[in-house]
Symmetry: C2
Subunit: 255 residues, 2 copies
């Protein structure tokens, strides 16, 4: 029944099994030369087998060091709730809800923020109903966990929202009650969109990612009380560094 597997697939399957059964407690795999000898094949064939597992993101290799089993321990992240009742902002010393989340999980947050005025990417322009040719304000946040770049969070604002508000303030500012409320546009509704895709080459370089890293992208469009879009936040992170948590309560239920 089984249609005679190729050598590389046999080797890949064998190694996959060993990994699953915990045969490599240190995470370290045998060297390519050792595997050549064990399976009696040319080095390129061993490499092909290891490439199969690399594409599955099961292992990573580093020049000089060997192959290791990849680990997968995403941090939990809760996108902020509606700002006027966000109590986590009060955590002392924590810049914002994200920093509080990270701190609570025993890690060290840091973020770099810059503000600029740009032509919006196509998706953002559609979400914000930006007229053709009009610019938007973007606050770009690079969020580090334990010194490692773990998340990109870009917030886009229409000019009529951002102008003359604290949104334009560069740097990592914390505004009691929230940025949008301070700008005079508290949000009444969010529309979230979550997708998964592979990291681009540019992202892999910027974030120093292992080859074959999936990304999770969370896009939140915020609407004001008149149901006009006033902000789009695009949060991008490698799947092995971020997990999204969301809560829903049935408003019809008395609690």
């Amino acid at each position: 029944m089984t249609p005679a597997q190729s050598a590389q697939d046999r080797i890949a399957a064998a190694l996959r099994d060993r990994i699953r059964q915990g045969a490599y407690p240190t995470g370290r795999l045998p060297s390519e030369r050792d595997l050549m000898e064990e399976f009696r094949v040319a080095r390129n064939t061993v490499r092909a087998a290891l490439d199969v597992l690399t594409r599955e993101a099961l292992i990573v290799s580093r020049r000089g060091a060997g192959y290791r089993v990849r680990d997968y321990e995403p941090l939990d992240w809760r996108p902020g709730t509606f700002e006027h009742r966000a109590s986590r902002l009060d955590v002392p010393g924590a810049g914002d809800a994200w920093a509080a989340d990270v701190t609570a999980q025993g890690h060290e947050p840091r973020q770099e923020v810059d503000v600029s005025i740009v032509a919006p990417p196509a998706g953002v322009a559609a979400d914000l109903l930006t007229p053709d040719g009009e610019l938007v304000v973007v606050r770009r946040r690079r969020r580090f966990v334990d010194g490692e770049l773990a998340q990109l969070a870009d917030s886009y604002y229409p000019l009529w929202v951002a102008e003359g508000s604290p949104i334009m303030t560069p740097g990592d500012v914390t505004i009691p009650g929230g940025l949008m409320a301070a700008a005079g546009h508290p949000q009444a509704r969010f529309a979230d969109r979550i997708e998964s895709r592979m990291a681009t080459h540019a992202e892999a370089v910027l974030m120093n990612l292992d080859p074959v890293t999936p990304m999770i992208v969370h896009t939140r469009v915020g609407f004001d009380v008149d149901d006009r879009p006033v902000r789009v936040i695009v949060t991008t992170a490698p799947g092995d560094r971020l997990r999204i948590l969301l809560d829903f309560v049935d408003p019809a239920v008395t609690r």
Copy 2:
């Protein structure tokens, strides 16, 4: 400044650029032999370059046919809202909210359902507070879009919830008002968890996935009015076939 790139990286970068600039309107790339000649390298070097782009999920190859630019067009999916006010269930002919979503986007839904009693996976047992050694009921749904397996949705129920309820009915049943309400355990709260990871080997075989496909996993724990967990739904889909949409309304705002 540039530290003398390898041949495979130069070729990969060149092809990446061409793809981005739309140099291959049909999506079809030149053959390996053509690229050997153009870049004056051995075939294995061309293959290494193409492997770089394959790992980025930019291209796919098929034996006999050549390399093609991969496309990425996920379908939108909204996890159901609280059931007693789910009006989309009334769409005629649509089995459930998922089927309605797919139909609305111009595609053909179909699903296969089976019910069984199993030992829960570790994560599910933790979410459901299942005592050690106790079994749970699982309804496994395989959801097809236009005949292609696009999503796996497994719902887990504690025995005390499922017993004697329509949950145990095999097949693709539709219950007006919702399964949980019919079982006597309407849900008052959801806790959602969303992550991104690479497809496992088993998933790739089952769903006939291209190599290097990221998966999106949505886990929803439902709680009853007494805040006991009564259901866990684990929805798994390839990132290029599914995008999750969620809506939030500030309950404090009068609308």
